[in-house]
């Protein structure tokens, strides 16, 4: 402020640009740097592969966005992916042996989605029964993560299950452009729900100020429970895509998915305090993280070192978000 009005104007303009487009600028920068360092980065094959990978985490992140919009957290999504993976592949193996029909696939997908939704509802009911704040949602969904992960291990006997079924439709779900379309379709639906329905508006309200929302007559408990259900359902759908992609299921399939999903949501700018952000933010966050991961792979950074980058990005993204808010507040007071 000591630098006079001219300088303040310049800086505030920069902050406004950064605040609105910071993540997008980051995405473009990563793409440019990676394609200069490694020309194979921008080949159609690599881009498609990247998008297919992104859509698995992406679908999970969409549900997590809903939960985080309400000021909560879901650490159990990874375990839900694991459980749904082994259940789905075993179901397909049992009933899809003799030239099963596409109807079977649809039934399995519906059942798996229902299982995910139910686990989410359990999460949500426990959390809302105690009116859990952020800390409690963290610990309860972590407890659920342990429970669901051990259910997955119990169900599969700790074994890796290979797909032996012959149903064609299920195998198509994870190949070609299908996962990308599925991701976009779910994103579109959820975006519409969030922006154009009363339910969506109420979710934003709950995130912005839960007490206020309760006093305004919004059924906070019911809505929060449903968001956790939706979150579980998206995790289950992601399990379908991933098992179809690799045509097998591991009871540890979803290990660490929750962290990637949270990172994507946070990087996208859905803030921890709830309220603002949204599906579009999350799509950008997912893209940033998967492009970055792929770029690091292409450049030759090993998976372990990537953890360092990933952890750092989570912190930097939230810190920037907080800094933005501070600047916005200061500019509002000026």
């Amino acid at each position: 402020m000591a630098g006079g009005p001219q300088k303040l104007k310049f800086w505030s303009r920069i902050t406004i640009v950064l605040r609105s487009y910071g993540v997008l600028i980051g995405l473009v920068l990563i793409i440019v740097i990676a394609s200069i360092m490694e020309p194979t980065f921008l080949t159609a094959n690599n881009v498609l592969n990247m998008l297919r990978q992104a859509s698995v985490i992406g679908i999970v992140s969409l549900g997590v966005t809903f939960v985080m919009m309400t000021g909560g957290m879901d650490l159990s999504v990874g375990a839900i992916v694991s459980l749904c993976s082994v259940v789905a592949i075993r179901m397909m193996n049992t009933y899809g042996q003799t030239g099963g029909s596409s109807a079977l696939t649809l039934v399995v997908v519906a059942l798996i989605a229902a299982i995910g939704f139910l686990i989410g509802l359990v999460n949500g009911s426990i959390i809302t029964s105690i009116n859990g704040r952020l800390g409690e949602t963290f610990i309860i969904t972590y407890g659920m993560q342990i429970v669901v992960a051990s259910l997955a291990l119990l169900y599969s006997g700790g074994q890796f299950i290979t797909g032996t079924f012959t149903d064609g439709l299920y195998q198509q779900l994870g190949t070609g452009l299908f996962p990308i379309f599925l991701f976009l379709a779910i994103a579109l639906v959820m975006h519409a729900v969030l922006t154009y329905t009363t339910f969506g508006k109420q979710i934003c309200f709950i995130g912005a100020n839960m007490e206020c929302a309760r006093m305004s007559g919004i059924k906070v408990r019911l809505l929060r429970t449903i968001t956790y259900g939706i979150c579980g359902m998206t995790a289950a759908l992601s399990a379908i895509v991933v098992t179809s992609r690799v045509f097998s299921a591991s009871p540890l399939q979803g290990n660490g998915y929750e962290l990637e999903a949270i990172a994507a949501v946070v990087v996208g700018g859905t803030s921890q305090s709830g309220g603002n952000g949204g599906i579009v933010n999350t799509i950008i966050g997912v893209l940033v993280l998967s492009v970055l991961g792929n770029a690091l792979n292409v450049v030759g950074v090993d998976a372990n070192a990537q953890l360092l980058v990933r952890g750092g990005i989570i912190i930097v993204a939230v810190a920037l978000d907080m800094w933005n808010k501070k600047t916005a507040q200061r500019m509002a007071t000026i």
Binding site: N131, G143, I314
Partner: protein, 324 residues
């Protein structure tokens, strides 16, 4: 009439306050009836050993939760301490230098967590989620995911030493417990920590440097994680990224069972120690009953959830009573 109600609530309050102790006694009694060898000396020894290492981290977690913060990265810090300690021992063969370096590293990591939370104002759950991922990455890069081991004589003697038939590690734990309890109960720092966690706005207005308090709580956590990591190394003479992945949340569970509220501002380390004892006895009981490892995990998850739900219900009951 009024008096009887008062008496009854007093009794109820007393029972509620002693839940940990009653729970612990109940577990031990049931287990020793079901399996008489549960009270065998070697089993008690192994319980005390388990309580010692996790208990040290739980002391730090208690301080943090009292200050109203939280540390998910404890598990990674604990791994890093093991790996660094073993690596230093192998490189220098000087136990005291290695201990010093590990302690300093723990202090630095903890302080870093604290600064991220207080200066960058990142929510402690997200911040420590980030540092947890980073430190785990560091450990994996360092070891390639392999176990590291040492043949250092000093470590061997310390790990095997017993005083009155109990491992020396238990005495280290008692030492830490006493120091943390004294700091919390009798020093200005401790009292300011309670004030910070109880109501940060009031504490700030009362002239307490709340960011400093919180950062110091994080630093202590880092230091205690380093100590716990080294204790594990003296026991196993090895360190790995596989040991102690559940330590952070187990310590939270112990702290909450011990009656420290997640919302901060209340609790003490001795009760956390009892809470840790309950958890370790429970885990041992699960093993003793011959349950498959997956069922043990299932039970751990359920216990964690039950503990948090129980905590919130009792806290609310108290709050309502005060409100009346």
């Amino acid at each position: 009439m009024k008096k009887t109600i008062h008496n009854r609530t007093a009794v109820f309050e007393f029972v509620l306050n002693q839940t940990v102790l009653l729970l612990l006694l109940a577990f031990i009694v049931i287990m020793s009836i079901v399996r008489t060898s549960f009270l065998a000396w070697w089993n008690i020894q192994s319980i005390l050993l388990d309580v010692s290492i996790y208990g040290v981290v739980a002391c730090g977690m208690t301080m943090l939760i009292i200050s109203g913060e939280f540390d998910l990265s404890a598990s990674s810090q604990y791994m890093w301490a093991q790996i660094l300690f073993v690596t230093m021992l192998n490189a220098t063969n000087n136990p005291f230098l290695s201990i010093l370096v590990t302690l300093v590293s723990g202090l630095v990591l903890g302080t870093l967590n604290g600064l991220i939370v207080t200066k960058l104002r990142v929510n402690s759950f997200i911040a420590t989620l980030g540092t947890m991922t980073m430190i785990r990455g560091l450990c994996l890069v360092f070891t390639n995911g392999n176990m590291v081991s040492t043949r250092n004589e000093f470590v061997k003697t310390l790990g095997q030493a017993q005083i009155l038939g109990v491992s020396s590690l238990f005495y280290i734990y008692i030492g830490v417990l006493v120091v943390v309890s004294v700091v919390l109960a009798y020093t200005n720092f401790g009292r300011r920590l309670y004030a910070t966690g109880g109501n940060i706005e009031v504490a700030r207005l009362a002239g307490i440097h709340t960011s400093f308090q919180k950062t110091m709580a994080f630093s202590s956590m880092g230091l205690l994680c380093a100590i716990a990591g080294m204790m594990l190394v003296t026991m196993l003479r090895a360190g790995s990224t596989q040991y102690g992945t559940d330590i952070a949340l187990t310590c939270v569970a112990a702290t909450v069972i011990g009656g420290t509220r997640l919302s901060g501002g209340a609790g003490n380390a001795i009760r956390t120690a009892l809470g840790m004892m309950v958890i370790v006895v429970l885990y041992k009981a699960l093993i003793y009953l011959g349950l498959q490892a997956y069922y043990q995990n299932l039970a751990k998850g359920l216990v964690l959830i039950a503990v948090v739900v129980f905590d919130v219900y009792t806290t609310r009951r108290r709050a309502e009573k005060i409100g009346r």
